[in-house]
């Protein structure tokens, strides 16, 4: 493994560059969001040439190419490995000033990110102590994307996390204990032991749809939430996430397309974290950036640095505002790096080390801390220390409660398959839909397909 060009044999998929910095000249900002997919033919010397724009908020454009190479060991046996090429010594960019976040909000997002990370550290320790059932999934390096995106939602908006968006769940009002109890399969977990990890939801207070392990299915589901709310007279933003791996599924296409056709307020955060389990993004798709997919759906697409909370927030905020104005879906591609393996068992030995080193320097929390404390001076070093200590105390208290809570009884596996005996009263959450008056029922006599 290395980051130098080799003379090794390359697989057919691995020879194309991505995200070339020189290729980006696009306009950045809110005005670009108004009609960012507007195509332009007029004014071009070639009237048959259409151009589309993808706003890119990033302050750098890392350009890596991962490819499979085959090398022989000393016995002459072939071994296929991933190698990466790119500019690894580029200076770390600053945090981009937000157009919307004030001091209080920036500090809140900073605190959520800390809580996110320290909760996951606690989970890692619980796993090592043998207290976690199954694996642990981390959002290390992706905390800015989870926390700042969820932070952009209004209270009535809905969201559906993916497994690494544990920070989003905290922002939306779940306690660290809820997530810890899920991992420890406790009776008091939100699913009462019935499901693991981030797989839970709440349609009453927090408006969160539970993820399932199959990727992409949440996208049409969230479109449906927006559809249901719209029938009740509300234009809600419905946010969900998909990875560079998960977006390969067919239902991803179906879901975004449905939301687009119906002009529903879907805010889709495409988390491009370079690796889908062990498969590099170059083996998932061929376009340069996944934000380009938005063009095909006829919706705005935008690229942000997923390690910069301000960029994530600004893009998410604008997308949420569009949703509230009934302007339809937005696709936000957040570029970042999954800084651990797929789950705790996976040491990610297949990832070229240079990639980890590059992104470690772009740690979302360390950079945001620097931004808030040293650059903006919104927190004094003392206030920062107190804030960190407060987060640690909160995690410790939550951990204590979660660890000491009981396991479910075996018999609690039974029941609850159906909603029956009045266990739920179903009513439209945002009010009874308006109905139109019309003609009385009349029998149909039309011709049909198969008789």
């Amino acid at each position: 493994m290395g980051n130098k060009k080799t003379k090794s044999r390359q697989s057919s998929n691995g020879s194309r560059p991505r995200s070339g910095a020189g290729a980006r000249k696009n306009h950045v900002g809110a005005d670009a969001f108004v009609r960012p997919v507007a195509r332009s033919a007029t004014g071009s010397p070639n009237q048959h040439l259409r151009t589309y724009s993808i706003p890119d908020y990033r302050l750098e454009h890392p350009d890596f190419t991962v490819r499979q190479v085959t090398k022989k060991d000393k016995y002459g046996h072939d071994h296929v490995r991933f190698e990466v090429e790119g500019e690894f010594d580029a200076p770390v960019p600053p945090i981009r000033d937000s157009k919307y976040l004030d001091k209080r909000q920036a500090i809140e997002i900073y605190r959520w990110m800390l809580l996110n990370r320290k909760m996951e550290t606690a989970l890692e320790n619980l796993y090592k102590q043998g207290k976690v059932v199954g694996g642990v999934y981390f959002g290390l390096g992706q905390e800015a994307c989870s926390c700042a995106s969820a932070y952009a939602l209004d209270r009535d908006d809905w969201f559906a996390p993916m497994i690494r968006n544990q920070g989003s769940m905290l922002v939306r009002g779940f306690g660290a204990r809820d997530i810890m109890m899920q991992y420890m399969a406790k009776a008091g977990s939100p699913t009462r032991g019935r499901n693991a990890t981030a797989h839970f939801g709440d349609i009453e207070k927090r408006n969160m749809v539970s993820p399932i392990s199959m990727l992409g299915d949440l996208i049409p589901v969230m479109a449906g939430v927006a559809l249901g709310a719209r029938l009740q007279g509300r234009n809600l933003a419905v946010m969900t996430y998909i990875g560079d791996g998960g977006q390969s599924t067919g239902v991803t296409y179906e879901g975004i397309n449905f939301a687009s056709v119906q002009n529903l307020g879907l805010v889709l955060i495409v988390e491009s974290n370079h690796w889908a389990y062990s498969t590099p993004s170059q083996m998932q798709y061929r376009c340069q950036d996944l934000a380009e997919r938005a063009i095909g759906y006829g919706i705005p697409g935008v690229i942000v640095d997923g390690t910069d909370a301000c960029q994530v927030y600004d893009a998410a905020h604008e997308a949420v505002e569009r949703a509230h104005r009934s302007e339809g879906p937005t696709l936000i591609e957040a570029k970042m790096m999954r800084m651990k393996g797929h789950a705790i068992h996976d040491a990610a030995g297949y990832v070229p080390k240079a990639m980890f080193e590059f992104w470690r320097k772009r740690d979302p929390i360390a950079r945001f801390e620097n931004y808030v404390v040293r650059e903006k001076k919104w927190l004094t070093p003392k206030e920062n220390q107190d804030l960190i200590a407060g987060v640690e105390a909160e995690i410790e208290a939550e951990r204590e409660i979660a660890v000491n809570s009981p396991m479910p009884t075996p018999e609690s596996a039974e029941g609850g398959v159906f909603c029956e005996n009045g266990c739920h009263k179903i009513k439209p959450k945002y009010g009874m839909p308006k109905v139109k008056k019309g003609t009385a029922y009349k029998a149909t006599e039309a011709a049909v397909h198969l008789k």
Binding site: T191, R194, N195, H199, F200, G201, D202, I203, V209, S210, I212, M214, D217, L218, I219, P220, V221, M222, A223, G224, V225, L227, G228, A229, L231, Q232, V238, V251, E254, G255, N257, F258, V261, G416, V417, F418, C419, E420, C423, H424, I426, K427, P428, K429, Y430, M432, P433, K434, V435, G438, T439, Y441, K442, A443, T444, A446, A447, V448, L450, K451
Partner: protein, 323 residues
């Protein structure tokens, strides 16, 4: 009112949309065109394009969107143009819709409906009876009506139910079966079978189009002094175990008849129920009549050979009676 099976379903959905503003329809070509079989003909004019939504050809999106809307307290009725295509949305139904209430306690009041079944030369992708895909998914109610009365009462019950219901309409019955249906509002309870014909000698347990095949066989057999009891399950999940036990206790001999292929079919499950509940009442082997273990072929002679027929029921009933 004298209604066809199709008109009964159409009227049932229409009345529920009149009664409850949270009910809405979505599916392919259900709006301006009124649906491939015209079940929603005229709906878009009456209820508007907001509540009668023509969707892209995207079954997972249709089910996903219906599910999402149900979480906000709506009661979506999603149409599959043919139930064969429900396979495209299988993951959404099996892993999302069916498991939600058990796993995280959100109710999912939605109906997935559409035409199923053979005898119309639809070929292998327009004639299937895929109800068993869903019977084996705890959390779903699977409904297969045989008559206009039941079709209307059950579609209304399904729409009012707080759980996901998969509603299999039989396309052979759509315009062939007519009967008197009350003008006033009624529902048929989900999970309750009915005795379609009382008899003494042996029981046929069946549902959907096969009820009519069994009734025809019963006419022939009555001339030979063989008196069939016919139990119409109406709902295949949850199964009405009591009704199954009851009829076997009465006649002591049972034939299970269904259209879908034999292996892993509903008959196996019903045989197990008989075994568990009323084994001592049996005076003969449990007999299965079912489709072949293959895809449903297209050509009429082949399709006819594949599907259960009146002669099959007559032959097996004679054999079992003599046992």
């Amino acid at each position: 009112m004298f209604l066809t099976y199709l008109e009964a379903i159409r009227q049932g959905i229409w009345e529920e949309m009149e009664r409850d503003p949270t009910v809405f329809c979505l599916g392919e070509d259900i709006g301006v065109y009124g649906g491939a079989f015209k079940v929603t003909d005229g709906f878009i004019d009456r209820f508007g394009p907001e509540r009668v939504i023509d969707t892209p050809i995207a079954e997972s999106a249709i089910v996903g969107a219906a599910f999402g809307a149900s979480l906000t307290g709506m009661r979506p009725v999603a149409e599959f143009q043919f139930m064969d295509f429900i396979g495209c949305a299988f993951n959404q139904i099996s892993n999302m819709v069916a498991k939600t209430h058990y796993l995280w306690g959100a109710p999912v009041p939605l109906v997935l409906r559409g035409p199923s079944g053979g005898y119309v030369h639809g070929g292998p992708f327009h004639s299937q009876n895929p109800e068993m895909w869903f019977v084996h998914n705890p959390g779903l109610k699977v409904i297969c009506p045989a008559t206009p009365y039941d079709a209307k009462g059950l579609i209304k019950a399904a729409i009012r139910d707080n759980n996901p219901c998969v509603f299999f309409e039989h396309k052979y019955l759509y315009r062939r079966i007519k009967e008197e249906v009350p003008a006033e509002d009624y529902v048929v309870p989900i999970g309750k079978a009915r005795v379609a014909r009382e008899g003494r000698h042996l029981s046929i347990i069946t549902y959907a189009a096969m009820v009519h095949t069994a009734l025809e066989a019963a006419e022939t057999l009555s001339q030979e002094g063989i008196d069939l009891e016919i139990v119409d399950l109406r709902t295949v999940a949850p199964l009405d175990r009591e009704a199954i036990a009851e009829t076997v206790k009465k006649t002591n001999k049972v034939i299970i008849l269904h259209e879908h292929s034999r292996t892993g079919g509903l008959a196996g499950e019903i045989a197990a129920v008989v075994n568990e509940e009323v084994f001592d009442s049996l005076d003969g082997p449990i007999v299965r009549i079912a489709g072949l273990d293959s895809a449903i072929p297209f050509s009429p002679p082949q399709e006819q050979y594949y599907l259960p027929k009146v002669e099959d029921v007559v032959r097996e009933a004679r054999r079992l009676k003599a046992y």
